[in-house]
Every structure is written in structure tokens, then in C-alpha cells.
């Protein structure tokens, strides 16, 4: 999908030698001076908090519908953001929907981060034919456009949240592995790694002390840029009926079931997608801001 092809792998570089004291501290400070990123962070925080505290924040019950009060418009006295095709309160469903949508968006990236980093750092450090074999296998999965791979895996495994998360995790492992391998290979030839080898340290110690600290940062930032893609894909899977199943509130699924309502209550029908959009763009802006904060212009 979009962003996966966008990120040039060679543009992800390991931390420059000018890492600052309390490196992450100074990155955070720079980030806080970026107004766009801060607004994005605020939006994400609001959505996450609303989702976590949904029972306290939402006005109604996400599952209870009233057929007589279907498809009320936005601004209705009872349903502030309208009601859906089964008469359920949209505001409530959107808030609760954040839970599943965020979960299905973030978890695959988190899992792929762990698995992909391990694979990539290992392949990058060991080098040689091990590296070649691992990266070629990764290439095979990379040879699929991500949407297609997600759908293929989901379609084969069957609908359901677990299967969707598994498919998406598999989709995101290759790009993360590639970035991890690339960064590790660059670090590996640095003098201080050589010096550590000269000190007689074993491979695991060197990776733990010298490599990981310098490598995980860039990989992490890259992974955060994948969250927005993951959310869109996860919701997309639900939109196609491959992810969550009714009556669960989830933004992609809601878009699907409200499709027929676009002629009756177009604004209401478009709401879930707007939530996906807002969340996705916020993650993108935050990730961009993070990357800028990490870039040291010499």
C-alpha cells in the first residue's frame, strides 16, 4: 500500500555519531516544539483514552439498537452523531469502535516489530549466506503488494479478528526486517563494533551492548510510520468482511454495513471512515515529526 513503497530503505540510517546525552530526551524535546506533531499526538491520545475508558465516556450501549430510530441524522436530540442502520447510537459505536480498530491497527505492527527486528538484526550481524537466505525469503513476501498479501492470507485463513491480525503481522514483517537488516549491516562495519570485537567480546554481547542501542531507534521510527497503513488495511479487511464480524463495533465494519445508507444519511454513513482518516493522518504526522526530531542536520 501507499506508505510501504514510499519509505526509501536507504533513507533510514543508524543514529549519527552525534547522539546526544539522554538521546531520547533531546528527541522528545525537539518533538515537543513541533506544533503539528503535538496536535497529532493530542488527537491520538484523545482517541486512545476515549477507547480505553469507553464505558465511562460513551453515552449509550454500542450493541443496543432500536429499529424505530434507525438512521437518524447528526445533531439528533437523542443521538448526537446520528444512529446507524440498526438504530444504535453512532457516537457510542465510534468510541467503542476505537478499541478494535486501534487494536487491529497497532498490534500487527508491534508483533512485526519484534519479529522483524530479531530476524533483521540477526541476518545483518551474521552476514554471509545466512543473510542471503533470510533476505531472499523475505524478498518472496515482499514481491506481493501488501494489500494483496493481506487479502490472500486473510481470505485463505478465513474471517475473524485473530486471522486478520496474523495476516497483517505477516504483511509487515518483511519491510521491518529489511530496514533492520540494512541498519544493522551499516552499524556492523563501524569502528566501535570492530573495537568491541577486538576486546574479545562474543557476538551476543556485542549485539546487546553495541548494536541494539543504535539500531532499534530507527527501526522503531520506521515501524511507527507503518501504523497508519496498518489501520487502513485492518479496517479495509473488515470493510470487506474479512476482519471483525457484526455486531462488533469497528470502524471498517461500520463503513461496510452503512454503505447502503449513503443515500439516506450520507453524513452518518461517512463518519466511521472519517475516524479512520483522522487517526491515520495523526499517526502519520506524529511519525513524520518523530523522524524529523531524530534527524540531526550537521
Amino acid at each position: 500500500m501507499a506508505v510501504l513503497s514510499d519509505i526509501r530503505i536507504d533513507a533510514v540510517a543508524p543514529l549519527p555519531a552525534r547522539a546526544s546525552r539522554g538521546y531520547w530526551g533531546s528527541v522528545l524535546r525537539r518533538l515537543m516544539r513541533d506544533p503539528v506533531a503535538m496536535v497529532a499526538a493530542g488527537v491520538i491520545l484523545a482517541i486512545v483514552l476515549a477507547a480505553v475508558f469507553a464505558p465511562f465516556v460513551a453515552p449509550g450501549d454500542p450493541y443496543k439498537g432500536a429499529m424505530l430510530r434507525r438512521l437518524r441524522p447528526i445533531g439528533d436530540a437523542l443521538y448526537w452523531l446520528g444512529s446507524d442502520e440498526l438504530g444504535r447510537d453512532m457516537l457510542t459505536r465510534l468510541i467503542y469502535g476505537g478499541r478494535l480498530s486501534l487494536f487491529m491497527g497497532v498490534l500487527p505492527v508491534a508483533c512485526a516489530f519484534v519479529i522483524g527486528s530479531t530476524l533483521g538484526v540477526f541476518a545483518g550481524y551474521v552476514g554471509g549466506w545466512v543473510n542471503m537466505v533470510v533476505m531472499r525469503v523475505i524478498d518472496v513476501f515482499y514481491a506481493f503488494p501488501s494489500v494483496l498479501l493481506a487479502i490472500a492470507l486473510s481470505g485463505a485463513l478465513g474471517a475473524g479478528i485473530t486471522n486478520a491480525v496474523v495476516s497483517l503481522t505477516i504483511v509487515f514483517i518483511p519491510p521491518i526486517t529489511r530496514v533492520a537488516e540494512s541498519v544493522t549491516t551499516q552499524i556492523r562495519t563501524r569502528d566501535y563494533v570492530e573495537a568491541a570485537q577486538v576486546s574479545g567480546a562474543g557476538a551476543f554481547t556485542i549485539i546487546r551492548v553495541h548494536v541494539l542501542g543504535n539500531v532499534l531507534g530507527p527501526i522503531f521510527v520506521y515501524a511507527t510510520s507503518l501504523i497508519s497503513v496498518s489501520m487502513i488495511l485492518a479496517s479495509g479487511l473488515s470493510f470487506l468482511g474479512l476482519g471483525s464480524k457484526p455486531p462488533e463495533p469497528e470502524w471498517g465494519l461500520m463503513l461496510n454495513t452503512l454503505r447502503t445508507a449513503i443515500y439516506v444519511q450520507p453524513a452518518v454513513a461517512a463518519l466511521p471512515g472519517a475516524m479512520i482518516f483522522i487517526t491515520s493522518i495523526s499517526f502519520n504526522l506524529l511519525s513524520d515529526g518523530l523522524r524529523s526530531a531524530m534527524e540531526v542536520r550537521s
Partner: protein, 317 residues
């Protein structure tokens, strides 16, 4: 050049084989008896036995793969459970429609994207840059299936200017470039173009900013080269990468068209995939995915070769 192409072909072949293995395994990861994946459950017993023998489900896995691969090489992608027609025929019919849609979308996206990217890169850090960059971030972040819905709401439901679904009047199965069909492609293509627009815009902006930053541009200006000359210079330097990205985007759109095609009921491979998923028609699913993936691999190879041909600086091992 030819040597490079051959080398890349050699490099790509194991990947292509790997892709086919993944496609082959798709049937085997589905829960349940693989036979139920290719035959409706009420098929007559003798047909079941026939299929079992033909696919070799009792044989070891690698042999099954070999059998399947052999059939694929002969153009036999299996038979669709739902329609009973050969999968290859269905896919071939659908691929044309998707190709047209994806190509139009990519071209629109490329045009708009390079324009925004250039503006942003040239007038870096000005309000123009911020605006253009904002547009590209939007392009990259928007869920395109939602955008499609919104477009339908605005242009079909509310304004009634354009048809909401289908590729032609009366639900025609194929799109043809004639005035009647023209209206049908506008909304889906525009919706689809948003993604490549965003990606290409970002890429071009980075490229242009990079090139302008380089010292030799300043040297050129110091020598008295006019703005137009600098501009041409930037274009020639940015072109190979920009074109490569465009090619890749075309590939992504080809493979990822399912969401838009679902929204607009566009009779392409994506729509076919959708139907296949719903009807649990695994031969159709598998066949379509195989074709699309191979297309993507071939496209990547083509982009690679063309990019190297255009950019003499790239030296590949």
C-alpha cells in the same frame, strides 16, 4: 544492458518460484480438508475422487506443488467452484479492466504528484511547500475506500453527475474507451489516484530538495545558468527515480485494487477476488492472486531495468 537484464531475470526467478509456492500453500493453510476448498460440498462422490487424484491430495506436498505448477505452466489455473468456468478465463477478462483503471489512476496520480512535489521541493519551507506537503500527507493517509464512498455520496447521490457503480451502462462487463463508458471511470480513477499522488509527491519533493541542495547546482547558478536550465537539470536527475516509483505504484494499484473495485463494483480482478472470498471459491482466489503477484514481480523487474537504463550512475553488482 542485456547482460544486466539477464542477471536480474536470474535473480528474480527464485523469487517468482517462491511466490508461486506461497500461492500454492494458500489452499493448504485454510482450515479443513483441502478438497472442500476446491469442490462444493455436495459434489458427487466420483467427482470428489477424481479431483483428489488430479490434485494429488494423497501425495506428498512437494509433489502436489509440482503437479499444480505443471498445470499452471499450461495455463490451467483450476476451475471456479462458484461458476464452474475455468479460472484462467475469468482472470483474463477481469485483468483488462483493472489494468485500465490502474493505469489511468497512476497517470493522474503521477501528473498531480510530480506537480505538487516539484512545487514543494522548489519552494521549500514556504507556504506553497506546506500546502503541497499537506496534500501529499493527506493522499497517503486517507482510506481510499472511504474516499470512494465520499465521492459517490457527493457526485452521485447528491449531485447526480456521475454514476456510482459499474464500468458501463447497464452493468456492462468491460470498459471501453468510448463516450458512454467515459463517465464510469472518472470516480474510481480519481479515487484511486490519490495514493500514487501522495507517494509520488513526497518522493519528488525529497528528490528535488536533495538535488537543489547539492553543491553543483549552486555552481551551475554561479556560472550563470538560468532558472530554466537549472529546472531542466533537476528534471533529468529526478526523472529516473520518479518514473521508477510510478511504475511501482502501478503495481501496487494493480494488486490492491480490490477495495476500490468493491466500492464501485468495477468488474476487475479486485472484484473477482471479493467474490472469490465470499463464496469461498479458493481456486479462483488462488488463481487471481497468482496472476496479480506475477504481474507485480514482472513489473518490478521492468522498472528495475528501465531505471538502470535511464540512470547511468546506478551500478548494480
Amino acid at each position: 544492458m542485456l547482460l544486466y537484464t539477464l542477471k536480474r531475470l536470474l535473480y528474480v526467478t527464485p523469487v517468482a518460484i517462491g511466490v508461486s509456492i506461497v500461492c500454492f500453500l494458500l489452499i493448504h493453510i485454510t482450515p479443513g480438508d483441502p478438497l472442500s476448498a476446491i469442490l462444493p460440498s455436495d459434489a458427487p462422490l466420483e467427482l470428489q475422487m477424481q479431483m483428489r487424484a488430479a490434485y494429488g491430495f494423497d501425495k506428498p506436498l512437494w509433489m502436489q506443488y509440482a503437479l499444480w505448477f505443471w498445470k499452471v505452466l499450461h495455463g490451467d489455473l483450476g476451475t471456479s467452484i462458484a461458476t464452474g468456468r475455468p479460472v484462467a478465463a475469468e482472470v483474463l477478462r477481469a485483468v483488462g479492466n483493472t489494468l485500465i483503471l490502474a493505469t489511468v489512476a497512476t497517470l493522474i496520480g503521477f501528473t498531480l504528484g510530480t506537480f505538487f512535489g516539484f512545487v514543494a521541493g522548489y519552494f521549500r519551507d514556504s507556504w506553497l511547500d506546506k500546502l503541497a506537503s499537506a496534500l501529499s500527507v493527506l493522499g497517503v493517509s486517507v482510506p481510499h475506500y472511504w474516499l470512494g464512498m465520499v465521492m459517490v455520496i457527493i457526485f452521485s447521490a447528491q449531485l447526480g453527475w456521475l454514476p456510482p457503480t459499474g464500468a458501463g451502462p447497464g452493468g456492462s462487463g468491460n470498459w471501453r474507451p468510448d463516450p458512454e463508458h467515459l463517465r464510469y471511470i472518472i470516480l474510481p480513477a480519481l479515487t484511486m489516484s490519490v495514493i500514487p499522488m501522495g507517494v509520488i509527491s513526497r518522493t519528488v519533493r525529497a528528490l528535488v530538495a536533495d538535488i537543489l541542495d547539492q553543491e553543483f547546482v549552486q555552481a551551475l547558478r554561479a556560472k550563470g545558468l538560468g532558472e530554466y536550465g537549472v529546472f531542466r537539470h533537476v528534471v533529468t536527475n529526478a526523472a529516473p527515480t520518479a518514473l521508477a516509483v510510478m511504475g511501482l505504484q502501478l503495481g501496487y494499484l494493480l494488486g490492491g485494487s480490490i477495495l476500490i473495485e468493491t466500492v464501485f463494483s468495477w468488474p476487475g480482478t479486485g472484484f473477482l477476488l471479493n467474490a472469490a472470498i465470499f463464496q469461498r471459491d479458493l481456486p479462483l482466489l488462488q488463481g487471481t492472486i497468482l496472476v496479480l503477484a506475477m504481474f507485480f514481480v514482472a513489473l518490478n523487474l521492468a522498472v528495475d531495468v528501465v531505471q538502470t537504463a535511464l540512470d547511468p550512475r546506478i551500478e548494480r553488482a
